[in-house]
């Protein structure tokens, strides 16, 4: 069943049970309609139109839209950046093929867990990329693109970040690989990017060792065996003949390897007139104008990347709640802080103790139990938060606690005496041990508390 409902240059095509959006011109593209079509077919040689459609869809917050299939009608000389990023090249009549691919993608999208919140923007990008790879059942294959800052464009991922932020892609993918969600496949290329703006576009030149000038002249050194004279070729050159004549002994050089040779070369800087043999190779960044030694360029490997089983599992079941809510949870209980915040406050307290010494203490609580290794990560996080809250309940309102892990906590006790602190330590040990025992089966838990005074100008050993 094929029905074409053409409105201006933008048409909606019904095929089987699908509705395709068919776009020929930029002005005709109505982004409002994307939501209810099943796929988009672009029939235009304009890269701009393609880029616009891609940008609007792929950066949408709704998974149904950012994962929408996009097809392109085959043209002669269609640029790589189009070919590599659409879900298929097609002919205007190949609706069957389009429908098949669309169905596959749609089915895969439906299997996904609809994750809405992410612990960070970067993680969001990683997560969405994994969803994209899962639904396309395809590896992430970056392709050369001279318009891209990194000189490589990653399908889907590159669109999620602004041009200046493209370097983050590498970090995001690296994180995904470290966490086991992604895997590196074969290496495609090496790129060298500016350490200031992460651009891969630069000129590489030889520059003077002494003044960074680029006006250099290189010459061979000539060694005349007979008299041991050695100097640059110009020393031997004559004004009116092509002969090379030794300036020391006035003999004509005849045969290389027999009476003379060229053992080396030398550069002469026309700016500062210094001599040297090894110029510095510098780059001049096209994007930010930085000039620096090429050794300062960052090297990155460009690889094909695939989704691992763990990655698939993640996009199918979603993130464990704690990872993206731990921030907010920890802050719910007043006085339980993130480690970074805690360290910050500790520094402030240290400064304060200059005026009020001997009354502030740093404590370290260690919870050691072999059984803890047996419980799941999720459970561990729950236990961690519970222990932190419990610990906080023995402290005053203005005291602070942070959880490093389920087995390690720090606290900061203000306005205290060593005697009181010792009592407090015993109390903490007793109660935390009880708490772990009630939560973990066959627990052999040992809790220990170590304290040290916080002193001005003295490092706290963590």
């Amino acid at each position: 069943m094929l029905a074409i409902n053409k409105i201006n240059k933008q048409a909606l095509i019904e095929y089987e049970d699908f509705l395709f959006m068919y776009v020929e011109e930029e002005e005709a593209f109505d982004s409002e309609k994307i939501f209810y079509v099943d796929a988009i077919i672009i029939n235009s040689s304009s890269t701009r139109l393609f880029e616009k459609v891609l940008k609007v869809t792929r950066t949408h917050y709704d998974a149904e839209i950012y994962l929408k299939p996009i097809f392109c009608v085959q043209y002669e000389g269609l640029p790589l950046q189009v070919i590599e990023r659409c879900d298929g090249l097609t002919d205007v009549t190949q609706y069957q093929k389009i429908a098949r691919t669309t169905r596959e993608i749609k089915n895969n999208v439906q299997k996904l867990f609809l994750q809405q919140k992410f612990p960070s923007n970067e993680f969001g990008v990683l997560y969405k990329t994994m969803q994209y790879l899962y639904t396309r059942n395809h590896d992430l294959v970056p392709f050369v693109n001279r318009h891209a800052r990194l000189s490589y464009t990653y399908p889907f991922v590159s669109l999620q970040l602004e041009d200046e932020e493209q370097k983050k892609i590498l970090d995001i993918l690296k994180k995904g690989i470290q966490d086991g969600f992604l895997r590196e496949e074969q290496m495609l290329d090496k790129i060298h990017i500016c350490d200031a703006c992460y651009s891969a576009h630069h000129n590489i030149r030889e520059t003077c060792l002494h003044c960074n000038g680029i006006d250099l002249k290189v010459q061979d050194l000539i060694h005349h065996f007979q008299c041991a004279y050695i100097g640059p070729e110009t020393d031997f050159m004559q004004e009116y003949t092509d002969d090379l004549i030794c300036p020391k002994c006035q003999k004509i050089l005849r045969h290389i390897g027999v009476d003379y040779d060229k053992p080396s070369h030398i550069f002469n800087c026309n700016t500062c007139s210094e001599h040297f043999q090894n110029p510095v190779f510098t780059y001049n960044c096209v994007d930010c104008g930085k000039i620096s030694d090429i050794r300062h360029l960052q090297e990155h490997l460009i690889k094909r990347i695939s989704l691992t089983a763990k990655g698939k599992q993640l996009v199918l079941s979603g993130l464990p709640r704690k990872t993206y809510e731990s921030d907010s949870k920890a802050k719910e209980v007043t006085g339980v802080y993130e480690l970074d915040v805690f360290k910050n406050i500790l520094e402030q307290e240290k400064a304060r103790t200059a005026f009020n010494p001997g009354r502030t203490f740093f404590g370290k609580v260690a919870v050691v139990d072999e059984k803890l290794n047996g419980i799941s990560w999720k459970e561990k996080m729950i236990l961690r938060d519970e222990l932190a809250r419990e610990l906080k309940s023995y402290l005053k309102e203005y005291d602070m606690v942070t959880a490093v892990s389920a087995g390690e906590f720090y606290f900061l006790k203000l306005e205290c005496t060593p005697e009181k602190l010792e009592e407090l330590g015993e109390l903490i040990v007793f109660n935390l041990e009880a708490l772990v025992r009630s939560n973990v089966k066959d627990s052999q838990v040992v809790v220990s508390v170590n304290t040290q005074p916080v002193l001005h100008n003295q490092t706290v050993v963590m």
């Binding site: 060792l209 050194l221 060694h223 065996f225 007979q226 008299c227 041991a228 004279y229 050695i230 100097g231 640059p232 020393d235 020391k248 002994c249 390897g257 027999v258 009476d259 040779d261 053992p263 080396s264 030398i266 210094e274 001599h275 040297f276 043999q277 090894n278 510095v280």
Partner: protein, 434 residues
């Protein structure tokens, strides 16, 4: 015990006249030249110390008023590990308006990496490497080609220097404008490593530290040591810098003299060098040094014996002294030994100990004059114990080495096959009669 009584009885019976007849070689050539003459010259030199100190101070002022740029060049092969130490020691110098030029003559170790690094960090001014080795002369010439100083200091990379060494080696140029080259005082740094090195410490003190004061004073000083020698840049240009070695130190000195420049030895410009610590290595080194005598004195520069435009008594006498003491006497010594064996064979067991005793006495007398002159005589006191051994070292080890070298060079021109120079250069030098 009986032997000692017999020994003295014998010499008492022989008497002075006959003793001179027996030890003529020692008395006229060795004792006369190295003890009597040296003591006399050093005494005269010592008398002039006050006048010299005054002139020296004036020359020093002149140097610091002008503050000329001095190019320090260190050509060499596989010296990487020494370059950093060298640069450090140069940074300590009292005179600082210098540029440092290192030429790496085809090293096959990490020298280029070290050199480039020092150049990049501004510790040396130019580091030039020849991928193909060209020999010591061409390396020095290359360094000279890129030197911009008014004076050029040729250094060995494995040497280190007293803090005032650079200043003191340049000052003589301001004492006398006719001076074209100044030799520094080379002493042994690693004397305490082995017996071999100890003996060389004494030898260096004798032949360089004191020996050269004497030859310089007499105007017959011959060799500006390549380990530490200074040259006027214009003089070097005039004489066409270095020719192919070995013995290029002596060669360039002769060329300077022939062009009419004076040569000066400066005992206060002190540099320490590491000497071979094994006799086998020392043997090879000395073979090479000795061969250059034949090659340069007797072949290349034979014209100093003939009258020509820049003919000088000093140059002539220096040559004669050098050839005489090293070459003629070397042959005479064998004649002397033969004389002893043939004419005094029955008394040989009395002659040998007496001969050794005389040499030792002379040795101790020389050591006395060394310690009077040295600025580090405290450190060198230990050397006294080794003086008796010097007799054997000088009379046998060095002499046999020298004889062998002369024979080889004179009859077979061995130095042209010396692996010390690349084959291509040696071939060309032989063909063109250098």
């Amino acid at each position: 015990m009986d032997f000692i009584i017999e020994f003295f009885k014998y010499w008492n019976y022989v008497g002075l006249g006959k003793m001179i007849r027996i030890f003529w070689y020692f008395i006229f050539f060795e004792f006369g030249r190295y003890v009597v003459l040296e003591f006399w010259v050093l005494f005269v030199y010592w008398l002039g110390r006050k006048r010299r100190a005054k002139e020296w101070e004036a020359a020093r002022q002149a140097l610091y008023n002008e503050m000329p740029l001095i190019s320090l060049i260190a050509p060499g092969k596989n010296e990487g590990k020494n370059i950093f130490k060298l640069v450090k020691s140069l940074n300590e110098q009292t005179y600082q308006n210098v540029e440092v030029i290192i030429v790496d003559d085809g090293s096959d170790d990490e020298t280029p990496i070290i050199g480039r690094n020092l150049e990049k960090n501004g510790l040396i001014d130019i580091f030039i490497r020849n991928d193909m080795r060209g020999g010591k002369a061409s390396a020095a010439n290359l360094a000279w080609r890129y030197s911009r100083g008014k004076f050029l200091l040729h250094l060995d990379a494995d040497c280190s220097f007293d803090r005032t060494a650079v200043e003191n080696i340049i000052i003589p140029f301001y004492l006398d404008p006719e001076i074209g080259g100044v030799g520094g005082n080379v002493k042994v740094r690693n004397g305490d490593v082995s017996l071999c090195a100890r003996l060389q410490s004494i030898e260096y003190l004798k032949s360089i530290s004191v020996g050269r004061i004497v030859t310089s004073y007499l105007g017959i000083y011959r060799i500006i040591s390549g380990a530490f020698g200074a040259f006027r840049m214009d003089a070097l240009k005039k004489i066409g810098v270095w020719d192919i070695g070995p013995g290029l130190d002596g060669d360039i000195t002769v060329k300077l003299r022939k062009s009419g420049y004076k040569i000066h030895f400066e005992p206060t410009a002190i540099c320490l060098t590491a000497v071979p610590t094994k006799f086998s290595k020392l043997w090879k080194q000395r073979l090479r040094w000795s061969r250059s005598l034949v090659r340069f004195r007797l072949r290349k520069h034979l014209d100093v014996f003939l009258p020509h435009r820049n003919w000088r008594w000093g140059t002539f006498l220096g040559f004669v002294e050098n050839v005489f003491y090293n070459f003629v006497l070397d042959i005479k010594w064998y004649i002397y030994i033969a004389d002893m064996i043939i004419n005094f064979s029955s008394w040989i067991w009395f002659l040998i100990p007496m001969n050794l005793a005389l040499y030792m006495i002379a040795g101790f007398m020389q050591q006395l004059s060394l310690s009077l002159w040295s600025e580090r005589s405290e450190d060198e006191r230990v050397l006294w114990w080794y003086v008796p051994l010097m007799v054997f070292y000088v009379a046998f080890f060095l002499r046999f080495c020298r004889t062998l070298a002369y024979i080889k060079e004179f009859f077979w021109k061995a130095s042209y096959r010396d692996p010390w120079n690349p084959q291509k250069s040696s071939y060309q030098a032989l063909k063109n009669g250098y």
